[in-house]
Point group: C2
Chain length 362, copies 2
Amino acid sequence: MKTVQVETPGGSYPIHIAPGQLSTIAQSVPADATAIALITNPTIATHYGSQVHDALATTGKPVLRIELPDGEAYKDWQTLNLIFDALLAYPCDRKVVLVALGGGVIGDMVGFAAACYMRGVRFIQVPTTLLAQVDSSVGGKTAINHPLGKNMVGAFYQPVAVQIDTDVLRTLPAREISAGLAEVIKYGLIIDAEFFAWCEENAAALRALEPQAISHAIQRSCELKAHVVGQDERESGLRAILNFGHTFGHAIEAGLGYGEWLHGEAVGCGMVLAAELSARIHGLPASDVARVRALVEAIGCPAVPPSMDVERWLSLMRVDKKTEGGQLRFVLVPRVGEAVCQNVPDDEVRAVLQAVAAVDVA
Amino acid sequence: MKTVQVETPGGSYPIHIAPGQLSTIAQSVPADATAIALITNPTIATHYGSQVHDALATTGKPVLRIELPDGEAYKDWQTLNLIFDALLAYPCDRKVVLVALGGGVIGDMVGFAAACYMRGVRFIQVPTTLLAQVDSSVGGKTAINHPLGKNMVGAFYQPVAVQIDTDVLRTLPAREISAGLAEVIKYGLIIDAEFFAWCEENAAALRALEPQAISHAIQRSCELKAHVVGQDERESGLRAILNFGHTFGHAIEAGLGYGEWLHGEAVGCGMVLAAELSARIHGLPASDVARVRALVEAIGCPAVPPSMDVERWLSLMRVDKKTEGGQLRFVLVPRVGEAVCQNVPDDEVRAVLQAVAAVDVA
């Protein structure tokens, strides 16, 4: 088992990475927990519900099961309230421990429920998608969506542990593997040029879930994310670089309707656009833009954005949480392995989108 | 102007106490705020809306006004969402500053909205009731209600400043002054015997809002609360003593329906019951129980609880956030000026309630 330790002002906790972690989850339940609430969706419950329930039951504590409807469309207050309803009906006290068994949607909602229930109870992340394993389950960002914007209501709230079972990736559709790999290569692009090169060499092995390759990719991604989050838990500075590709990506998701493209797919494509913008603003060499595009394609993500009016792009991006005083703000890579966060004039963004649209039409 | 400083891991901030503070609120708005959202209810807006709006406008920043429906019945997700709707429609970014102008309901909801909007923005408490000035606006407890329990969904989240204008108390109904004084005498009872004696001597002056007396009472209450919260922001230990009288009080509020008794009235009566329980468990002298009862009556709060079946009391109290593993937990005062928090067997609680009910019927 590999363990990555996350250290933040809001809490320190281990990320355990190994095959079979679903069956060893009892190790992460604090001894003084009065009850455990296992929260998942019907799809994941079918695959892993009993296995995780049985593993939790070995603690001797009562295990409450809560199932939420599946999908980003349900990442809202109504669904969140199903958790509170069940916890209060039981009733669970402040020493309940919530277990988030699922992808990013389950992790974000259970984390936010843990942040708010009785003003804060403990929770464990058990991510079952590659995207959640390398990104959303680590670092304590939790949220629900609002009709006017994604993840607009939430909290920075750290889990007590993250249990990553690499075996579960085998039941994921290929498209979700590709979406998760988009966040993996992101870490290389913004922080670790060597890891980016390693991803280029191992793209095929990663898509094929070759055990050693995928295990290394998850571990390195968690290490790099833990490093950033440890320095800036609440995204007042450095942490914003993790949003590389996300401003364009969010606009794609919002413009097409959430769920049309997977989040990781939108981020993958967004990184290509952000690389183009980095070339305009910081002179990132065209050869490196080409490397980004090639790797996004190699991991199976779309490199060409959907057709959308340029002004629509801009208005969608202006709702982004990084916006300050109406100015668009982007993470840019002056070179591979290095990132900066800065305001960018609308016209520079328009130029990138128009150039891409021209290529698209041609 | 008197200033009390609050120091917690979640933030340090000043409480400014003086007549006329509504007009000097601009002093508390951080220089880098991109917008200000003034949030209140229609009743308070009529009295003070323009005055505070004009004071905020002197910052030169855009001031957005949001009005929420008035009352505890609206302290729910639907109303909270009105804040998010308005902030996102504007749209306000992460550097917006929310201003909570109102009593405990407004303070709790705006504080929770600030905790959650884009995962946390800054806010200023401007409490307009005595209860909010001496209690709820200080210490960072924020929450909304759930159909199955009060304040069940919330966060510990500190404001950047608290502005207490003692002038506003003049427009409060006498009943609300009494309710606020219940929390004032609570601080004496649990921490400061000398202050409790001072309250006994000044009960009439406090009810009459005699300026020097009320100003001292507010300042001392804020100091004592800041002292406790500074040692235990997230209520893992000491802070729980601030809930003296609240377990009984919450049962009264829930049993009668929220809003029937004011929160402070329920707490006032709850303190009498908690003093009786302290006599049973810790031998608090009968003469001190009598002092508590007399002072609760002297400040104009009910000392006799509403008639309610004993088992109903117990089941209502079991939902309390202090409950652990189904055991009822109470704050008790072994002597005036000293408090402890502990589990209490159901039968001891039954005995107190039965004794009080017997007196009530007689």
